[in-house]
């Protein structure tokens, strides 16, 4: 049922959103484009954290890998933007695959720490390699998106492209979620040992999940490099990964609809909280804490048994207090 509802919702949303730039100003189109890029990035995080249950603190780092690879591919090697997007996605996926393979033996907190270290390493590399990645100044003058002879250099022009990317990522993740792979991933978080017992390789699943998430992150990053025309190290720090995680938590961790809400917050938040721009992250953090506590209370009221990974059985399940 949820599948049908989601489809209808997505189709309606697509129609409304595609015709939006014909009525709206450039600034609105720009926010809309940002929304779809955040959506792409958050679907990746949804695959990593929502489905594979890995707290990733280097997700935005992989967005950066995608952005930098695309920018370098276009600036240094003269590749066309479309090829650059492929390169960015591929490089981010490879980095993610490498990290997933290296950290395959880690669990829970140790894994989160590993991703934290990886995130910091990535930022240090972006900032430190001034000859290749431009150091602290970043890389500017990335050419705009271009299809053969059509140049997409204004918000209304690149908006449809971002919509296509965002919806494509959304549909891809949705199919992934509904299919056998998504079910295995969900089962892995809740019942890893049982899954292993029936002959499914949990580590392989995790590696595939993390690589998929990294590829989606790289895609978002590569497109954003061409949309913004600029790539700088400050946008890809661990703090940004933490922020994205908070957006996902507010939207509802593990639910694809939550990604929509999270992306809306990420892109519209600065507009909505215009008077409170400095307080934005404080508000986001408090909101996500509230959501966490609220959902935990809800779950514990509904049942003492755990039925989602968020309620967890490991920590206090069956304790007498």
């Amino acid at each position: 049922m949820t599948g049908i509802k989601t489809t209808i919702f997505l189709v309606c949303a697509a129609v409304v959103l595609l015709i939006l730039p014909f009525f709206a100003s450039a600034a609105t189109a720009r926010v809309g484009a940002l929304f779809f890029l955040s959506l792409t990035m958050l679907t990746g995080l949804h695959v990593v954290t929502g489905l594979t249950k890995v707290i990733s603190l280097c997700h935005v780092g992989f967005v950066g890998v995608g952005a930098y690879s695309a920018a370098i591919a276009s600036l240094r090697f003269g590749l066309s933007p479309i090829a650059g997007i492929f390169v960015g996605t591929l490089v981010a996926a490879c980095c993610s695959l490498l990290l997933a393979c290296l950290t395959v033996r880690l669990e829970e907190h140790y894994l989160a720490l590993g991703t934290l270290a990886a995130g910091e390493i990535l930022v240090n590399i972006f900032r430190g390699t001034s000859s290749i990645a431009g150091g602290a100044n970043g890389l500017s003058g990335v050419p705009p998106l271009r299809f053969f002879h059509i140049i997409l250099d204004t918000p209304s022009a690149y908006y449809p492209f971002c919509v296509a990317i965002g919806l494509g990522a959304m549909v891809f993740t949705w199919r992934l979620d509904q299919g056998g792979f998504g079910r295995s991933l969900r089962a892995m978080g809740d019942e890893g040992i049982h899954l292993e017992a029936i002959g499914v390789s949990v580590s392989r699943l995790r590696v595939v999940g993390l690589t998929t998430g990294g590829a989606l992150a790289g895609l978002a990053g590569a497109v954003s490099a061409y949309v913004d025309g600029f790539v700088g190290p400050e946008s890809y720090g661990v703090g940004m990964s933490i922020g994205s995680l908070c957006f996902l938590v507010i939207g509802g961790l593990g639910r694809l609809e939550g990604v929509l809400l999270g992306a809306a917050l990420a892109s519209l938040g600065p507009e909505l909280l215009r008077g409170l721009v400095e307080w934005q992250m404080v508000v986001v953090a408090s909101l996500s804490l509230t959501v966490l506590v609220y959902r935990a209370l809800q779950t514990s009221r509904r049942s003492h048994e755990s039925f989602s990974w968020l309620s967890g059985s490991e920590m206090n399940g069956g304790r007498p207090w």
Binding site: A117, A118, E120, I121, N124, M281, S286, L289, S306, E314
Partner: protein, 289 residues
């Protein structure tokens, strides 16, 4: 030269050890990897500076007040949020959110300038067995060692310490024996926060602490705790010293620009080759040793 660097590394390492000890303490008792540990460090330091800005409060009262605030905030967090969350992953996400919020709150309250403490009255150098060491380093070492001993005494002798160790070993058994887990968790969390704030107040005079220095310090605390084996408090101190000395020597002989990267690579390498820490034991052992 080497002796001096070793001494500097040792004093910094002791502070890392204090941080790692707090981190380990919270982890073993509450199973929370406190991702906001570094932010607590920065918050303690910045609040200390902020309280001293008019010169009305001296260093000691300001430090005490700052520590009190951090302890209260940490216990409130443990009571209001942490207790409600059941799974370790949920709890980690909560501390991740706190780190984000606290970081930006610090930016708003204390501004973006990196600050150092007004002035240290401890200047000059002393000669220790032929090594010229700044008097500040010596004071730092003395204070940190005193604090570490105090923490050890609390854990080994006090009732709260015994409760904490019991909870770490077997929460269910501890609860059935009448230990109020909620209070113990809050106590452990508060102690851990105190360690972070104290580290910030101690190292503040020599580092340019700013609202954003928390994250990197947090990672260093993780690394030190990791090197020493999670949940082993003595190990945390050893890990801290190891990290401090390695870092100082790396900065002195290889490159100071890539110093932080070296720490992260060390952390990642430790994680990859020793997935449960360098001196891993059964998880959850809190001991004096």
């Amino acid at each position: 030269m080497l002796g001096q660097q070793l001494a500097n590394g040792f004093s910094t390492g002791l502070v890392y050890g204090l941080l790692a000890l707090g981190f380990s303490l919270a982890y073993s008792t509450t199973r929370v990897v406190n991702f906001a540990h570094g932010e607590l460090f920065a918050f303690g330091a910045l609040l200390g500076i902020w309280l001293q800005r008019d010169g009305e409060l001296g260093l000691l009262p300001a430090s005490l007040l700052s520590s009190m605030v951090v302890i209260l905030a940490a216990s409130a967090f443990a009571y209001l949020v942490l207790w409600r969350l059941r799974s370790p992953l949920q709890r980690s996400v909560a501390t991740i959110a706190v780190s984000l919020g606290l970081r930006d709150a610090m930016l708003l309250i204390f501004g973006s300038d990196s600050a150092s403490f007004p002035q240290t009255r401890v200047t000059g150098t002393v000669d220790v067995f032929g090594i010229i060491v700044s008097r500040y380093s010596v004071t730092l070492i003395v204070w940190t060692v005193a604090l570490l001993i105090a923490f050890w005494l609390i854990l080994a002798r006090s009732r709260l310490g015994i409760w904490m160790r019991a909870t770490a070993q077997d929460p269910e058994l501890a609860a059935t024996s009448g230990i109020k887990i909620r209070n113990v968790e809050a106590g452990a969390f508060a102690l851990s926060a105190l360690a972070a704030a104290a580290a910030g107040l101690l190292i503040g005079p020599s580092w340019q602490v700013s609202y954003s220095s928390g994250s990197i310090v947090g990672v260093k605390a993780f690394t030190a705790a990791m090197l020493g084996g999670f949940g082993r408090l003595g190990g945390a101190v050893v890990g801290g010293i190891l990290l401090g000395v390695t870092e100082t020597i790396f900065a002195g002989y290889v490159s100071s620009a890539w110093k932080d990267l070296a720490v992260f690579l060390l952390l990642l390498a430790t994680l990859i080759f020793f997935p449960r820490g360098l001196m891993a034991t059964r998880a959850g052992r809190v001991g004096a040793g």
